[in-house]
């Protein structure tokens, strides 16, 4: 399923959407960055409540397909800038990571 389809189905707010055709192959939820970088798989949609600039670096290096900021958290300005500079898909949602996760799983299993 494409990033754009996940975004539409979950009603996400687009913060930076450079590659909406990229395939979302799974999901990962977590806020400890070293944990995420070591465990998230390439192509995953990553759900987190972290909103600082390091989220962009971790997303880029872990090669996730999109980052979804959960619980309606607002990204720091440096995060927005780094996401734009590096072509990282950044979205947000008022839903929590748990709800986003099970909805995403439902979408990916369709």
């Amino acid at each position: 399923m494409k990033v754009s389809e996940v975004s539409d189905a979950l009603g996400l707010k687009q913060l930076n959407a450079p590659d909406e055709d990229r395939e979302v192959t799974g999901g990962y939820s977590g806020d400890l960055l070293s944990w995420v970088i070591g465990r998230a798989a390439p192509g995953d949609a990553w759900m987190t409540i972290m909103s600082n600039v390091n989220v962009a670096a971790v997303g880029l290096l872990a090669d996730v397909s999109m980052i979804i900021l959960a619980e309606g958290v607002e990204p720091d300005e440096p995060l927005l800038q780094k996401a734009a500079l590096n072509g990282i898909g950044l979205y947000s949602s008022p839903m929590g990571a748990y709800e986003l996760s099970w909805r995403l799983k439902g979408l990916l299993e369709k």
Binding site: L32, L33, I37, N54, A57, L60, L61
Partner: protein, 148 residues
């Protein structure tokens, strides 16, 4: 190891904003020379964890990267406090990071374990009060990654 490519980076220890600069550069270069995605990811993770460790614990340091036809060698050096108990530091979940660092999402105690997990060889040379040198080797898969 006589390397075809040698890259050198200074890791700024003043804030977390620049952490990831060296690892992103390595990732880009490895991609340009045709290295496979899995190897790139492993190198990038090792470098990033190294950068973060140097920012959190050692007020910065240097990262030297050597690439040849066999693989990638990363040498991360700092003049920080050193590691008193390497065996303890290697345990998942053990961290001496301060509260403010944890609020940023770091200090999970996964840095060194991740470096070990994603490298083929890891050597820690450390002395309390002097600093730490971590050498990491990531080999290209046999029959592939010979784009250089």
């Amino acid at each position: 190891m006589s390397a075809a490519i040698h890259l050198s980076y200074k890791v700024d220890g003043s804030d977390f904003t620049g952490a990831g600069t060296a690892s992103a550069a390595i990732k880009r270069i490895l991609r340009e020379i045709g290295v496979d995605m899995d190897t790139i990811r492993r190198c990038a993770i090792c470098m990033y964890e190294g950068e973060i460790n140097m920012v959190i614990h050692a007020n910065g340091g240097t990262a030297d990267v050597y690439i040849d036809t066999e693989g990638v060698k990363m040498v991360l050096k700092d003049n920080g406090p050193g590691i008193a108990d390497v065996e303890q530091a290697m345990q998942e979940g053990f961290s001496t990071a301060k509260e403010g660092v944890r609020d940023l999402g770091f200090g999970a105690g996964m840095g060194l374990p991740n470096m070990k997990k994603y490298s083929d060889e890891m050597l820690i040379d450390t002395e309390v009060g002097k600093g730490t040198k971590v050498t990491l080797i990531v080999r290209f898969p046999k029959g592939g990654g010979d784009g250089a």
